[in-house]
């Protein structure tokens, strides 16, 4: 098992009163699979993702349970061991490709960042070669030009592709995608989804796909967790969730998807 989340609870205690945002969440993800997590805002799906990526602050919040990545617990791991995982084995892409790229850094350098940090054995030429190959692999054909561009010179869809290239360049085993298509328009959305699916197949990267959009989840994932108010209310295969939902909330969610009838 690549990733195993067991009984994870996250609690803030910022303002004196403890506030549970994730409660007893358990799921697992095998290498090469795509797991979708769906839920409304505030359901704790992004918190779960940040916890898996090891991006939650160590103080200021209580974390219980365990997040096993290849058998090792991300929550209790030494900071320097965690850093070895981040960017190399676990990567993440974010919702807003506008703000997720550094506005003052050329695209090339940002794509190479993971290589700079984790593969110091590569020289500049080898790094560039890898970055260009990945820019092409995510569908940016004009890779030489993109390489020297700044983020503001690219469109939203291109920026998200750059994000994906930057995440994939280190050859991770797990890609966490936190609402990666929410800020994009529908056609670009579809392209990004098919890109992620292709990368999943070709590179055997497991994807944790987080979205509030049921139809996207249905298109991309093999298994689904439905979250509400910090708990997983139902989980199972896509067919199970969409054809024979058992939980009331899941049924209401599915019923709420607007259908276009011609």
């Amino acid at each position: 098992m690549l990733l195993e989340v067991r009984d994870l609870s996250i609690e803030f205690h910022d303002h004196g009163i403890p506030e549970r945002v994730v409660e007893h969440v358990s799921f697992s993800l095998d290498s090469g699979e795509i797991l979708g997590i769906v839920g409304e805002s505030g359901s704790g799906k992004s918190m779960t993702a940040l916890a898996i990526a090891g991006l939650l602050p160590r103080k200021k919040m209580n974390k219980e349970g365990s997040i096993l990545f290849e058998g090792e617990d991300v929550l209790t791991m030494e900071r320097k061991d965690l850093r070895l995982l981040q960017g190399d084995e676990i990567c993440m892409i974010f919702q807003e490709p506008m703000t997720a790229l550094n506005p003052t850094m050329r695209i090339g350098r940002q794509v190479e960042e993971a290589l700079r940090v984790h593969h110091s054995e590569l020289d500049a030429a080898a790094r560039k070669e890898r970055a260009l190959r990945w820019l092409e692999n995510v569908g940016l054909n004009d890779s030489e030009r993109v390489y020297v561009s700044y983020p503001h010179e690219l469109s939203g869809g291109m920026r998200q592709r750059v994000m994906i290239a930057a995440a994939m360049v280190g050859g991770p085993k797990l890609l966490i995608a936190d609402e990666p298509t929410t800020a994009l328009d529908v056609t670009v959305q579809a392209q990004v989804i098919s890109l992620l699916k292709r990368l999943n197949k070709e590179e055997r990267v497991a994807i944790l796909f987080i979205s509030h959009d049921l139809s996207l989840i249905q298109q991309i994932s093999t298994d689904v967790c439905v979250m509400q108010k910090g708990r997983i209310v139902e989980q199972g295969s896509v067919e199970h969730i969409f054809e024979r939902p058992e939980n009331d909330y899941t049924k209401r969610l599915i019923a709420a998807v607007p259908r276009v009838e011609l």
Partner: protein, 277 residues
């Protein structure tokens, strides 16, 4: 719509360029004077001539002569050099320490931030000249001590600006994505965040330079900055005040040069920050 916006931007740019050009012209004039004074002044700046005491501005001495018969223009040139050298070093010390303190505080937050920022507030509550005075009274006068004292007094304002900017940037997603790519805290601060606050930092450095010029002039005016017979703009003003009515040019020219210098850098800073939007 897009066309409107690009036109707007063009307009802005023209305006910014005007400030920038004026500032650049004045500043380069000052820098030129300071540089030339290193190897050439029309007269030796400390040469006294009793027959030229309070000579009026004229062809021989374009800014006139002072109470010892020294050429004011030569002394102004040297004063620009001394003053701007002190101001430059002051700003350098203030920026360097301010960036480190501010960036670390803003990024990590928590107790160290709280402690450092309260110390900062404490220093801030004294006017920087007063603070420099206290330090100089402990260390003694002299150019180096003045520079150090002013530098220390300038740290809080830079630290505060940098801290708030770093805080703002640290909340953006690109910081998270650099973190998840495995970059360590210090790499994130200095390689990722810092380049993003350079525009803000640059204009505050300019304004800081101005304040340092004024502070140095103030300290020298009080007699604890540059020591005689070295020329400094502030010192000249303080010596000139006793002869304000008999030889007004003695006070007017150094004062005018201080004003021009501050104006030049202010315009430059203005032009830069507008150019950055």
């Amino acid at each position: 719509m897009p066309q409107d916006r690009s036109e707007d931007k063009g307009e802005m740019k023209k305006y910014a360029n005007f400030n920038f050009i004026c500032g650049a012209v004045i500043c380069s004039l000052m820098v030129l004077m300071a540089l030339v004074s290193c190897f050439y002044t029309p007269y030796p700046s400390t040469a006294m001539d009793a027959s030229l005491k309070f000579a009026r501005p004229g062809l021989m001495h374009i800014m006139g002569c002072d109470n010892y018969g020294r050429d004011i223009f030569s002394r102004v040139m040297e004063g620009i050099r001394n003053t701007s050298l002190i101001a430059l070093l002051t700003v350098f010390i203030g920026t360097l320490a301010g960036v480190i303190v501010g960036a670390v505080c803003g990024y990590f937050g928590g107790l160290p931030d709280e402690i450092l920022m309260r110390i900062n507030d404490l220093l801030f509550s004294f006017p920087s000249i007063l603070l420099a005075l206290v330090i100089i009274s402990l260390t003694g006068t002299g150019t180096l001590n003045v520079t150090l004292a002013l530098g220390l007094a300038f740290i809080p304002s830079f630290a505060r600006i940098v801290r708030s900017e770093v805080r703002k940037q640290a909340a953006l997603d690109y910081v998270q994505s650099a973190r998840i790519l495995g970059a360590g805290h210090f790499r994130v601060i200095f390689a990722h965040i810092l380049p993003n606050i350079v525009p803000v930092l640059l204009s505050s450095v300019m304004i800081g330079f101005n304040n340092a010029v004024l502070a140095e002039a103030g300290l020298s005016y009080l007699g604890i900055g540059v020591q005689p017979p070295e020329a400094s703009l502030g010192r000249m003003l303080s010596e000139a005040q006793s002869y304000l009515f008999t030889a007004p040019w003695y006070a007017v020219f150094p004062g005018l040069v201080i004003m021009l210098m501050v104006l030049g850098f202010a315009l430059l800073a203005e032009g830069m920050s507008e150019g950055n939007g």
